[in-house]
């Protein structure tokens, strides 16, 4: 509904809103960059996912700043951040929280778990048992927690940033496709450039810059931005382009499993946020192209031929994007 009303008033109003998005995003970006240097691409995706109300999967080796990224994001926005270290013995209630019986008051009191936060950092999510994983993933999808027959809403914005270590797979429970699908995007942080690493020694040498990070916005502003982003225009040709792109993953012979309709929705939402971050009130193919790999690749399963050719899902998505004509003049 909100989309409809905002759409009617397109034009200058929307453009002004988008201007807000850019200024807020620039502030947040600037704040985080004092902590994590030389990773504008990852930052951009992270912001996009935050504004598109999605969840982010960071897949990388330890020590490259995955946790730092999540923390910096939470602090810059001035919202609550909870961290869960996933281990094989972690239970679902360790995430959602438990009701504890107070004998003096003779009643159950709910102790909220770490999921009750704006940004939840799930470290090494693949180390927990599937049961625990699915508890978190349920919260991610439904944005609510049901404990003891009582349903509790999670506060917006709600974003799960989960990390995975791709190198050490022993004793892990890999996320099944169905659960990977719930993450809007997957990125890998990667090692910093030598120069960034040098700078890091200086800034991180004495004291943590994270502590010096002061909030530049708040959750209320983020919520309003999220609402406004729903008004970013997606031309019919662009909708068709997204559908064609997602569909091409289903028909591509290199892929055993294509992207789901949820992927289509995620891609459109992310593209809207991406366009707004660039100060545009309409989506262009470049938004979709920039997001195709992070949004689609982790949902796909390459077929045996692609594996033989050592084609990763990222490469296949890039190839599909390069093959698809952009929507032409109306």
């Amino acid at each position: 509904m909100s989309l409809g009303t905002q759409h009617d008033g397109h034009g200058g109003g929307v453009l002004g809103d988008v201007g807000d998005v850019v200024s807020v995003a620039d502030r947040v970006r600037g704040a985080i960059e004092t902590v994590i240097e030389g990773k504008p691409e990852v930052l951009r995706i992270a912001l996009t996912v935050l504004l598109a109300e999605g969840h982010l999967l960071i897949e990388d080796v330890p020590g490259v700043g995955k946790t730092m990224l999540a923390k910096a994001l939470g602090r810059a926005v001035d919202c609550s951040v909870q961290r869960v270290q996933f281990t094989p013995d972690l239970l679902p209630s360790d995430i959602t929280g438990v009701s504890v019986y107070h004998q003096d008051r003779s009643e159950f009191e709910f102790n909220p778990g770490p999921v009750f936060a704006n940004i939840v950092l799930g470290d090494e999510i693949n180390r927990a048992s599937p049961k625990t994983q699915s508890a978190l993933l349920e919260c991610m999808e439904e944005r609510q927690v049901s404990v003891d027959g009582q349903t509790r809403e999670l506060e917006r914005p709600f974003m799960v940033v989960a990390t995975q270590n791709p190198a050490d797979m022993e004793g892990t429970y890999a996320l099944p496709e169905a659960q990977r699908d719930r993450f809007m995007a997957r990125v890998s942080v990667g090692y910093p450039s030598p120069q960034a690493e040098l700078d890091m020694i200086d800034t991180h040498g004495s004291r943590s810059p994270l502590e010096q990070l002061t909030p530049v916005t708040d959750t209320a502003e983020i919520r309003s931005l999220v609402d406004r982003i729903q008004g970013v225009h997606v031309a019919p040709g662009m909708r068709r382009y997204v559908v064609d792109l997602v569909n091409s993953t289903r028909t591509a012979p290199e892929l055993k499993l294509g992207a789901s309709p949820r992927a289509t929705l995620h891609l459109v939402r992310a593209a809207r946020a991406h366009a707004a971050l660039e100060g545009r009130h309409y989506v262009v193919p470049d938004d979709v192209q920039a997001l195709a790999v992070p949004v689609l690749a982790h949902r796909l399963l390459p077929g045996p031929e692609a594996q033989m050719e050592r084609l990763s899902a990222e490469q296949i998505v890039a190839k599909l994007v390069a093959r698809l004509p952009v929507p032409g003049p109306r």
Partner: protein
């Protein structure tokens, strides 16, 4: 290997040389052509052995040919014997004119002059260079077939005898050899031949299949070649004989429904050797054979009044007396005519005038006024008839003393009222000092034969809007018998002499033994003038001999002889009768001198024009050359013009606000890129395209900042037009487009830039980027 294709191209061109064998007499006309072609081929083959880029080959070939040209055609004029100098070009020009004249006046087969040999050699040189380029550089040996076709057409159009099997076969064999060599060279580059099969049987089968395929393709081509022409309308070759009932001035432009000029010219120019009829005559100098009489002039054409085939006009033993005759005073001359069986049918008999009787089988009628003998049936071909005519030698004295025509219809003096006044002034000035009708007639004839007119079977066309008669008399003075005869008849009528135009044949060529042969090239038209007491008398204004209608003859009585009132010998009469025009006989006609007083401005102007026209005609036929050059340039410029038109048509759309303007600008940018050979991808978004183009500077450097900015603005405009809900548009699209275009062009290589101008690829729809079928998955 590399030298093989040039040699094959040479073979194909050499094999085409015999095509001209039927048109040129003698054995050595092909030597210079063959020498030049061999030299250019040697240059091409040697250069290609070096393995370098083959683009300079044509230039090297032309250079080699230029060096060889001087000793071949202009010995002694070159620097060091080989380097062409201005004198060489002068000599070559003279030779060229000689060759053109050779072609114009002689009929096939021609005894080649040096000039004709040069023209043939140069033609083949051009063809050899072109075929080398097509077959070797461009690797399209099939295109050489077009050149060979052009050569094949020459003997087929010029000579009705067509081609012999040997000529056509040699030409085809040379072409096939070229194609086969090309295939062989191509297949060699693939490496070793794979055998068709493991055992002899399968190898034999594969070969049989291949042969069958080739045979099927070849027989399909042959069947198509034989069947298709039947379905296509073709030209009649006998058009003149069935339709020649009018005569025109000028040429092509004024042709109405019938087309006698072209057919007449064609017959004259092409196959004068083909005999139409032969006859045996008592007389040593037989009269012309007259077929038609054209008595009405409508301003452009001489036409024939209808003739009646009725009971009372049937052909009797004796024909009516010719007009103006009281009694038959002539010497009887018997003429036995046999028409060739392959000559066109003749509804009107060619007869010497005045005919007294005709012995011929079938239903024939006679027109009593003109003594034309004709039939309404389809006449047979190859029949014979005997005609008796009354030969008279009109003497100049009698003609000079002829009074005013009494018994003749006034129709023979009729002229259109709107005839151009300058013609009458010309007639008046020519005849102003002539006392009698006869003197006026000879003055007119001398005007035409005096040397200021040029006989040409293919005169340049009359410019649109010009009066063909005035153009012929005043401007270019080029024409053939029809123009001469028609113009003189008109001027005679203006000088109060009854006149008409006769069409038929000259006496032809004597074969000895009293027999004469008349060929197609002897077709002719001449004026007949009426003198009281003598009747209709033939005049001959068309230049005769080698520079004119070869077998025409000027009647003795018209050149005056030694008769008192008539002015004396040959060209003198006009000098005495009309002193002013006489001096023009030598140089150029000046029809109205200032003293004549009747006209102040016009005549001098006319004289000036005439002088200019004469100057043009004495030089080489520059108009066709210039026209050809202009046409060629226009042809070359046609793609560029079309591209310009496309760009121009987008100009207004560019200014329009919103999406259409942006789309138009973007399309124009796309076409520019395609023209320049820059990739254009449909899978690229506008801004990605702009970014890529921005880095297309020379040697991988970015383009200038202003060009990049312009490209970026164009991309954003297009992007907004495509995807935004409210494309703003406007801005400086046209300006940005100009900046981007010039920036891209400046960054392109020189060759690409020229190609973009001369051969814009964006005009070709298949050059535009297209969505591959596989790339666009259908949404269910």
């Amino acid at each position: 290997m590399r030298a093989l294709m040039p040699l094959a191209a040479l073979v194909s061109m050499l094999a085409a040389l015999p095509l001209l064998g039927g048109l040129v007499r003698g054995g050595d006309w092909w030597v210079p052509a063959a020498l030049l072609m061999a030299a250019t081929t040697a240059v091409s083959a040697l250069y290609r052995l070096s393995g370098r880029n083959s683009l300079p080959v044509p230039f090297l070939q032309v250079f080699a040919a230029a060096l060889l040209f001087t000793p071949l055609f202009a010995p002694g004029t070159g620097f060091l014997g080989v380097v062409p100098t201005p004198a060489t070009f002068g000599h070559a020009w003279a030779l060229f004119e000689q060759g053109v004249h050779n072609i114009n006046v002689s009929a096939a087969p021609v005894v080649p002059s040096e000039g004709l040999r040069m023209i043939i050699a140069l033609t083949f040189l051009v063809f050899a260079v072109t075929s080398d380029f097509l077959a070797v550089t461009a690797r399209c040996p099939g295109m050489v077939g077009g050149l060979l076709l052009a050569l094949l057409v020459v003997p087929l159009t010029v000579d009705d005898a067509g081609l012999t099997w040997v000529q056509a076969g040699a030409c085809a064999a040379g072409f096939l050899a070229l194609l086969a060599t090309d295939m062989w060279v191509r297949s060699r580059s693939w490496g070793v031949m794979v055998p068709d099969g493991p055992d002899p049987v399968s190898r034999f089968n594969a070969r049989a299949v291949r042969l069958a395929t080739v045979g099927a393709a070849a027989s399909t081509a042959i069947v198509l070649a034989l069947v298709l022409p039947l379905a296509v309308p073709s030209l009649r070759t006998d058009a003149f004989y069935t339709m020649a009932d009018d005569t025109q001035f000028g040429s092509g432009d004024n042709v109405t429904t019938t087309h006698p000029l072209v057919s007449l010219r064609r017959d004259l120019a092409s196959s004068s050797d083909r005999t139409v009829l032969t006859y045996r005559s008592d007389s040593d100098s037989p009269e012309y054979l007259r077929t038609y009489v054209l008595d009405a002039f409508d301003g452009e054409n001489w036409t024939m009044s209808p003739v009646y085939a009725g009971r009372d006009s049937g052909l009797d033993d004796v024909l009516p007396l010719p007009e103006g005759w009281e009694q038959d005073t002539g010497t009887p001359v018997t003429t036995q005519v046999s028409l060739e069986s392959d000559a066109p049918r003749m509804e009107f008999l060619p007869l010497p005038y005045p005919t007294r009787s005709v012995e011929v089988s079938g239903d024939w009628y006679v027109d009593s006024d003109t003594l034309m003998v004709f039939t309404t049936d389809t006449p047979p071909t190859g029949f014979s008839f005997t005609a008796e005519s009354a030969r008279t030698e009109p003497d100049a004295e009698a003609l000079a003393g002829a009074g005013v025509p009494r018994s003749l219809s006034r129709d023979y003096l009729d002229l259109p009222r709107d005839l151009d006044e300058s013609v009458r002034e010309l007639t008046d000035s020519l005849t102003e000092n002539a006392d009698s009708a006869y003197q006026r007639a000879t003055a007119l004839q001398d005007f035409f034969t005096g040397g200021s007119f040029t006989y040409d079977l293919s005169p340049p066309s009359v410019p649109g809007g010009a009066d063909p008669l005035v153009h012929f008399l005043m401007e270019d003075r080029i024409g053939y018998c029809e123009q001469f005869a028609g113009a003189m008849a008109i001027m005679a009528r203006q000088a109060d002499i009854p006149a008409r135009v006769a069409v038929g044949y000259t006496a032809g060529e004597q074969m000895g033994d009293g027999r004469w042969a008349v060929s197609v090239g002897d077709a002719h038209a001449w004026p007949e003038l009426y003198f009281e007491g003598t009747g209709w008398v033939r005049f001959e204004p068309t230049p005769s001999s080698s520079r004119g209608q070869g077998s025409a003859s000027v009647p003795e009585y018209t050149s005056g002889a030694d008769v008192e009132p008539a002015p004396i010998p040959d060209t003198e009469p006009s000098e005495r009768d009309a002193p002013e025009p006489s001096e023009t006989d030598e140089e150029e006609p000046r029809p109205a001198p200032e003293e004549s007083g009747s006209a102040e401005e016009e005549p001098t102007e006319a004289a000036g024009d005439t002088a200019g026209g004469a100057g043009n005609t004495t030089g080489m036929p520059w108009q066709p050359v210039v026209g050809g050059l202009l046409g060629g340039l226009l042809l070359l410029a046609a793609p560029a013009l079309a591209r310009g038109l496309v760009r121009w048509s987008r100009r207004s759309a560019l200014a329009s606000p919103g999406a259409p303007g942006a789309h138009t600008a973007w399309r124009e940018l796309r076409d520019t890129c395609i023209d320049l050979g820059v990739d254009w991808s449909l899978t690229e978004s506008p801004r990605a395209t702009a970014l890529r183009l921005s880095n297309l500077g020379r040697d991988g450097t970015p383009l200038p900042a202003d060009v990049r900015a312009a490209l970026w603005r164009l991309a954003l405009a297009e992007e907004a037009a495509r995807y935004a809900p409210d494309p703003a548009g406007g801005g400086r699209l046209a300006e940005d487009l100009g900046t981007a275009r010039s920036g891209l062009a400046a960054a392109a290589a020189g060759g690409d830039r020229w190609r973009a101008v001369l051969l814009p690829r964006s005009l070709a729809p298949w050059r535009r980027p297209r969505i591959e079928a596989a790339a666009a998955p259908a949404v269910p």
